[in-house]
Amino acid sequence: MNVIDLAQVDWARAQFALTAMFHWIFVPLTLGLSFLLAFFETLYVRTGNPEWKTLTKFWMRLFAVNFAIGVATGLILEFEFGTNWSNYSWMVGDIFGAPLAVEGIFAFFIEATFFAVMFFGWDRVSKRFHLFSTWMVAVGSNLSALWILVANGWMQYPVGMKFNIDSARFEMQDFWSVLFSPVAIGKFTHTTSSGFLYGALFVIAVSSWFLLKGRHLEMAKKSIMVAAVFGILASVFVAFTGDEAAHTISRVQPMKLAAMEGLYDGESGCALCAIGVLNADKQPGDDAPPYHFAIKAPYVLSILANRDPASFVPGINDLIYGNPEQQVMGVSEKMVRGKSAVAELSRYHAAKKAGDTEMATSAMNAFDLDRDYLGYGYLNRAEDAVPPVGLAFYSFRLMVSLGTFLPILCIAFLVFAWRNTLLGKKWLLRLGVASFFLGIVASQSGWVVAEVGRQPWAIQGLLPVGVATSNLTVGTVQTTFFIFLFLFTTLLVAEVRIMLKQIHIGPEEKRHDRQS
C-alpha cells in the first residue's frame, strides 16, 4: 500500500502557494496598466497634446519594468507541476495542453510583436499604428490570462472530459465546455477586472507620491483623473462578477461557500455573515457556536447563492453528513461510492495484467457507475473534505472589505481631482500611496479564497492534493522551497529598486532613458 507523507504534501502546497503569490504581484499590474496605457495614448492621439505623450511614455516605462520583473515567474509554476505534482501533471496533461499552448501562442505572437512596436515605434510608425499596437498589447495580455484561468477553472469544476481508465488521464471530450465553463468565464472576468482596479491603484499611488513631492503636478493630476475613472468602472465589474462567482460556487463548490461563510448548519433564508469572529475551536458535528461574534445580513446568503431569499444554503455539516430533506448528498455517502471506484480501478488493472478480459470489463463497468466520486475514495474521514475554514473566512472578508473601500477611494480622488483641490489633501494623497499595497492585499486574498477554499481537492471531487503529489521526500521539497524563496526575493529586491528609480526619475528627464 502506498504511503502519503503529509509533510511533503504540505511543503509542496506551500511552495506552489508562494510561487503563485509571487507571480501574482506582477500579473494584475500588466493586465490593468496595459489598458491604462492604451487610454492615455488614445487621449494623446485624439487631442494631439504632447503632455499626454510624455505621460504615456512614462507609464510605459514602468509597464516595461513590471513586465520584465514578472517574466518567467510563472514558469516556475510549470516546473513545479512536473516535479512536485507529477501525478497531477500526468492526469491533466490532455486538458491543460490546449489552453496553455494557445496561451503560449498568444503571448509570443501578439504581445511580443506589438510590444516591440509599442516601445520601438514612437516616431517610427504612424500614430494610429502605434496606438493600435498599444491596444493589442493590452488585449493580448488579457487574453493570455484567459487560458491560464480556463485551466484553473477546470480544476474547480472539471467538465468536458472523461477519465481514461487505462492511461489514468483526464481526456478532453469537449473543448468548448472547458472554455465556456461558468467557473472559467467567471474567473476570467473577475480576475481581469480586479487587475484593472489594481493597475488604476498603481497609477494613483505613484501620482499621489509625485503630488506629495510637488513634482510633475499636471502629469500626476491627469493620470489620476483617468486612473480614478478606470478604477471606478473596474470596481463595478469586480463587484458584479464577484457576485456571479459566488452564485456559481454555490452550485459547483458548495463546501467552499460554506467555508467562506463559516456556515456549519445550513438554513433556508440564510443570512450572510457581514462581520464576524469565528470560534476557532468549532469542529464539524459538534454543538459549539460557529462564531464568537457576528453581524449578519438577513437572507443575503440565500440571495447570493441561489437568487432566492427563501432558499436553503447547505452548511459544512450538511455537506459532510448529508441532508436528505434538502437533497444534499453527504461526503460520507460519496466516500462509499468513491472507495468503490478506487477498488474497481485496482480490480480492472489486476484483471488486465492477468489477461482476464471478462473481469476487466466487469470492473470497468462498475467503475463507470461511481467514477464521478473517484476522489472521495481517497479520503480517510468525511471531515477531510472541509477546507481551512478560518483562512477562507477571513481572506474573503479582507478581499470584500478592501474591494469596497478602494473604489470609494477612487471616487474621492476623482472628485478632488475634478475640483483641482488634490494638492491640499495630503491625507488623501498618503492614502493614495498606500492604496496600491492595499490592492495587493485584496488581490492576493482573493486567490487565497479561491485556492484554499478548493482544498483538499487538486481537481474538485476527483483528485485530492495528497494523491496529486509526486513521490518525493519532504527534504527535497523543502530544499527547492528555500532556494526559490532566497533567489526570487533577491531578484525582487533588485527589480523593485529599478522600478523605484524609474519612478524617481519621472517623466521629464528623457536624457536618462532614450528608449522612452
Binding site: 504511503v3 502519503i4 503529509l6 516595461a64 512536473g82 520601438f120 489514468a168 480501478l345 531578484l491 536618462h512
Partner: protein, 81 residues
Amino acid sequence: MTEGLPVFTLPRRIYYFYRDGFRAMRLGRTLWTLVLIKVFILFAILKVFFFPDLLHTRFATDQQRADHVLEQLQPRHRSDG
C-alpha cells in the same frame, strides 16, 4: 531611412526596426539583462538540478508513466510524520 522602398523590402524594414530599437535602448538593456539572467537561472540551474520532470526522467515510455500513476492511485494510508 527605409521610407518609399518597394514592399519586398518589408523584411529588411522590420529587421532595421528591431535593430535600431534595440540599439537605442538604455533602460531596456538593463531589463533585458535581468530577463536573460532569470531565464538562465530558471532553465540552466533550477530546471536541470532542482525541478526535473519526474515522470520523464524516471520513465522512458508513456505506458510506464501511466503504470506509475495508476500505482499511485492505489488506496493509500496517511503518514503524519
